[in-house]
Amino acid sequence: MSSTIAQKRGFASTLWDYLTTVDHKKIGIMYLIAGGFFFLVGGLEAMAIRWQLVRPENDFVSAGFYNELLTMHGTTMIFLAAMPLIFALMNAVVPLQIGARDVAFPFLNSLGFWLFLFGGVLLNCSWFLGGAPDAGWTAYAPLSTTSPGHGVDFYVLGLQISGAGTLIGGINFLVTIVNMRAPGMTYMRMPLFTWTAFVTSALILFAFPALTVGLFLLMFDRMFGSGFFDAGMGGNSVIWEHLFWIFGHPEVYILILPAFGVFSDVFSTFSKKRLFGYTAMVFATVLIGFLGFMVWAHHMFTVGLGPAANSIFAVATMAIAVPTGIKIFNWLFTLWGGNIKINSAMLWALGFIPSFTIGGMTGVMLAAAAADYQFHDTYFVVAHFHYVIVGGVVFGIFSGLHYWWPKMFGKILNEGLGKFTFWTFFIGFHLTFFIQHFLGLMGMPRRYWIYLENQGLDTGNAVSTAGAFLMAIGTIVFLYNVIITSVKGEKVSGDPWDGRTLEWSIPSPPPHYNFRQTPLVRGLDPLWIEKSEGRKGMTPAEPLGDIHMPNSSILPFVMSLGLFIASFGFIYQTSDKSWLSLVFIGMGILLGCMFIRSVKDDHGYHIHKEDLDKEAGL
């Protein structure tokens, strides 16, 4: 097994390398590319939505198509853009931050990625095969069970497959963080980003099974004639709402917590200060995750659960403002007294504070059940969640990308372009969504294909659309920045930001074994400690030795392909049973691969000490 990678490679072998890789850094890059692509797709759908709503009774798209657009926009953005981009950062950074050479389950890590990608591709195949799902990203029954065509079938199977990938990824990160930490890296010395990755993974573990079950039931209702949500058979559509939100609410914290982690690292790095109130920050993160499981019914205030349930869930929801507030103030006091350097990564983080605070505040307003009777399913809710998701999660991803880009690719993104992206996106964002609060209360429900003339909704919507275009410009400039940087950008050192955590103690991009020698961690912000004591890097915790590495494998790709094939069988067997053959083929491939995997021993390989020395000498 050769350990020198600096050989010239053909395209085919690079492709093969990526298809089979189990290296978390490469998987991170693949998550970045795929998630970025889906972000553009979802953004394009958003632009179509906004263009349709630019003036009253517009006919840019048809009613049915509009519903497909909004469903696919929401689904794509949440499951195929935001989550994978967060997984991209987690994959690229978490093992480095805890001083690990690898994740706990490299094979499963790759399987998780391919499942996500094939699930996403499957979902988007619906566009070309008779129409996308059109029942909203929440797919409320019975609209979803009765929706004609195969759109919702693609939703069910696409999310089922990519959801399985996410669950696998979550377990992988949990075990990685528990078992793979370097010596001295106790729990209370872990960087906040790692902590949030940990809590997010735990949320994934407990939240996704509810979605899995919900999707199964939906699938059975649509494809196999069961009656879970069919009132005619004694079924109950409210069950779907509960299952969806038991998953759905934790899901939004799954998205935001890693973004919080990014901001914590960015704030402390660029104000050259230790994170203020580290213990409280950790505690708040855990508390948010914990409370996140008890509030889901705040999405169901108008379902008719009764005043007792509504009040309980209202108060429980409001409680989340407390730990979140602790975080906001701790960030502000991290900046307090610091030496604040404002670059692109920091701009996104600074832009986050007011934006997210507004979003959180409207969240608390929504939590007041009696007020939510007015807000629910209006543009006020749309405004709320874009403030927290775009102003929190998307800003966090942008911040993280600017911050860790040099670590991932060895080059710093262009600062001028970065600032331009930020300002256009930031202004566009507020322009788009602030006014939607008012639109909602002025009587504009969400998921409206058109709004009528003379209802006082024209100006607000036009402004909103204008803002969306600014965001698009910002995004396009960012893409340009990425291209320019990879073509022309200059190589940087391993530690361009005067970093504090372990990932900055190794070269950029890191070698595939990450750490030549596992570092010895002596406190929070371990690299900072060493630097402040005058040392250049980390003290190793072990002598230089052979490094054990996992073997790459094509099986994850093939397994996901199997499920992809089987899905078409499931979807089309409703009209013609011969499609069932695809189910057998696909599941056969999957089971076959699992069989091979369990029968074939995989001990990995070793990079020898001498080779390491040779590489260092180069």
Binding site: S62, A63, Y66, D134, A135, Y140, T146, A231, S237, K273, R274, F276, T279, A280, T302, G304, P307, S311, A314, V315, M318, A319, A321, V322, G325, I326, I328, F329, N330, L332, W336, G337, G338, N339, I340, K341, I342, P354, M361, V364, A368, A369, A370, A371, Y373, Q374, F375, H376, T378, L441, M442, G443, P445, R447, W449, I450, N454, Q455, G456, S532
Partner: protein
């Protein structure tokens, strides 16, 4: 309840004034100008919470601005290493306790209002109306009065009216922003909510739960009239003769055509057909099918091309097209039917009465 409501109300008056000035929405549609009890209570909570939120935001922004101005890196100080503080117990207690107190300020009235709006104690003696949400129209059945009507809901002002809501197909949500917050209609259970309009008027209602392609066109109206007018409307509606012959000949022909082609789904009078809107007082509507301006031309269009006006609506299943007639003939017939429908004005009490 009363104490804080009073204080809120002054606040509310002030802020609604400023909202009117800034032109926040269309009267009888916007939730900013409540014309009914539910909307009033909700706005009270909205404003209470908004005030607290603005306070929080201001505090955050003051610290934020100060920090950015004061501690931004100065030229030549790039290497300055600030003191590495670990935290501050006292401060942390402060920003844990104060938010809790602020939340209590919101939570208490919220709970009170939530229970208030779910109060069913007066339901027995009050007017009860069964509401059915359908793709994409609303049906109203007045429980003890044997009145069936669609699209326009007539209620008396100043009274709590209980709505018992259910759906015949998918989920919908009944929302009249200026009267009251919304309540979903589910297919498997009945939800109850009450509404009370303070003053006469025609209030715009919307469907607020995604229910298919024409979800955005599932509008309806709440027509609030005085108690006397309402009583008269009730008796007028009860005394409708569904088979009454219209005066004009074209309308008479229209009636025949209507009976042959349309009555399989629609109904006139109080027979409870739930496949299509009840057209008893169709002549008094302000909109056709909830969204189209009321005119003969538009009505003819609707009869001939319902799909183009409300995509996916269920009238499409039986469009008014035979196999072997030409278009012109259809138009003629549709006009006759329109003539018939337009003169269905059983009551003096119309949306115009609601001033």
């Amino acid at each position: 309840m009363k104490g804080w409501m009073g204080k809120i109300r002054t606040l509310l008056l002030l802020s609604s004034l400023s909202l009117i000035l800034s032109g926040c929405g269309k009267e009888n549609l916007t939730a900013f100008l409540p014309k009914g009890y539910g909307a009033d209570v909700s706005l009270g909570i909205i404003i209470t919470s908004l005030v607290v939120m603005i306070f929080v935001f201001v505090v955050v922004m003051i610290i934020y601005t100060f920090v950015l101005v004061r501690y931004r890196q100065k030229k030549g100080q790039e290497d300055f290493v600030p003191k590495q503080t670990e935290g501050n117990k006292a401060l942390e207690v402060v920003w844990t306790v104060i938010p809790i107190l602020l939340l209590v300020i919101i939570a208490v009235p919220t709970i009170a209002a939530t229970y208030d709006l779910a109060d069913k104690s007066g339901q027995k003696d009050a007017l009860n109306i069964s509401v059915t949400g359908n793709q994409y129209w609303w049906h109203f059945s007045y429980d003890d009065q044997e009145i069936q009507t669609s699209q326009d809901l007539y209620i008396p002002t100043g009274k709590k009216v209980y709505l018992n809501m259910i759906s015949s197909d998918v989920l919908h949500s009944f929302w009249v922003p200026s009267i009251s917050g919304k309540m979903d209609t589910n297919p498997e259970n009945e939800n109850t909510m009450y509404i009370e309009a303070y003053e006469e008027g025609v209030y715009w209602g919307k469907c607020a739960e995604l229910c298919g392609p024409s979800h955005s066109k599932m509008d309806f109206k709440v027509v609030a009239v005085s108690q006397e007018e309402f009583d008269q409307w009730v008796s007028d509606m009860q005394n409708v003769d569904p088979e009454a012959t219209p005066e004009a000949t074209s309308a008479q022909e229209g009636q025949k055509l209507f009976e042959q082609n349309c009555l399989s789904c629609h109904a006139i009078g109080s027979s409870p057909v739930a496949v299509a809107p009840n057209l008893t007082n169709f002549g008094d509507r302000t909109k056709i099918a909830g969204v189209v301006d009321y005119s003969k031309e538009n009505l003819v269009d609707w009869i001939l091309y319902p799909e183009e006006i409300k995509p996916g609506n269920k009238m499409v299943n039986a469009p008014y097209f035979g196999e072997h007639k030409d278009m012109k003939e259809f138009e003629d017939e549709a006009e006759k039917i329109a003539d018939y429908l337009l003169q269905l004005k059983p009551s003096e009490i119309t949306p115009d009465s609601a001033q």
